[in-house]
Symmetry: C2
Subunit: 242 residues, 2 copies
Amino acid sequence: MTVIPLYRQEANPQAEVCRSCSVRQFALFGALSDEALDTIHTRIATVEFEPGAPVFDAGQRGAALYTVRSGVVRFERVNERGDWRITRLAGKGDLLGAEALVQHRHADAAVACTPVVACRIPRELVDELSAQQPAIVRELMRRWQAALDDAEDWLAELATGSARRRVLRLLLKLAGLAPPGEPIWLPKREEMGAMLGLTLETASRMVSQLKREGVIQRHEVGHAWIDLPVLQEAAAREDRLE
Amino acid sequence: MTVIPLYRQEANPQAEVCRSCSVRQFALFGALSDEALDTIHTRIATVEFEPGAPVFDAGQRGAALYTVRSGVVRFERVNERGDWRITRLAGKGDLLGAEALVQHRHADAAVACTPVVACRIPRELVDELSAQQPAIVRELMRRWQAALDDAEDWLAELATGSARRRVLRLLLKLAGLAPPGEPIWLPKREEMGAMLGLTLETASRMVSQLKREGVIQRHEVGHAWIDLPVLQEAAAREDRLE
DNA sequence: CGAGCCGTTGAGGGGATTCAAGCTCAGTGG
DNA sequence: CCACTGAGCTTGAATCCCCTCAACGGCTCG
């Protein structure tokens, strides 16, 4: 993990970094005015993570929250039997680690899937702002509800039906996480298995089949081109027949 | 649904109903003082639901939140393919419908599984109290995080592994929802299927097998006696081998 | 250029589904 | 009072999809 405190970026005035942030309008502090932002940016740091690096571990005491500026982060946990399961994904604009506000330990781990750039926000800062700015509280609640909805949607769409259906639905979700016009991030087959409750071999077979059908095209390692209408049509067809 | 406004319960003074509430210490307003409670109880109503009756429907505008006083409620949704999936359960002390505070429509439906008694709290009341009492906001956040953790746990424990493992884990969860010393609620096999991502026939086979093994004993329709240590041991053994 | 990770593919077996039939049991009405 | 009814549960048999085990190939990196 690389940390770049914003107040050290002298060539790039601090206030400007936060003000012109590409995810500002989607982020937790999107509701804050320029003036309010000016008073807090010195306490926010830019952090970067390599693929596989943890943003935080399960069981760890949460001291900060993170806003994703770019990249994809997975939430994972190991069940009582020892199975590794990925339960959710986060992308640009999403908030990680809000549980630090209400309980000490993270119930699951957050791990970078691609190179990730994020803003690290100390827990105390959010606490202080919540007390002053009701909009922040409302935004926090909105995000909690969105995460809950996401988790339930994940269960209903990615843990239900045939292996082919699940892989197609996952690809649709990944397409929503990728910047428009760029190739989508294609997880390792083992990761796909942990997301979908399948073995890596089954995931591989489904991906290979979809490549042969032309629904996805290989781009680089871990990335693929998709034609969204074709993918949507394939997913809809899969759901239609029986 | 039966509604009994508290202010009509003349034989039972309103303030007393809230003050002596059996779930008060677990409930959203558990943080409020007797004095604070006295100012709001007239706006809270007791509501009752028969098994199968919706507390609210998916897509409905949420005008109220509910605190469960007794019984079990399921959250359910239908995925894009049309599969019915149950994503979570709520029991005594749990809060339903908090999404009414931050968005208009419910993403999933909440349906009574057993006879349910709940407190209906108007959305505006929670809004007002949140503005005055920071403890309420904190409690709301804590509950949101708990629900999110619950949903991820559900995915990791109930949507992973063999059918036998899933049924055992479900029974453990149901044991936690039942009042101590009473028989647990045993869902219909079709409901079990919707919870576990299995067919009702497979759920039935697993339940029958566990009955033959003596892990559970039939009590009445829809209820069963369990011996918790025996169940825990069976679940642990299942997870241990392979 | 070899080592290791990752992905692919095959063959075989097994567990869940599908389809179907019969059962239990509570509620209903003659 | 009890046959009737229907919803829910159980069980069987056949099928199929996914898992397991295994081998191999490609790619990256030291």
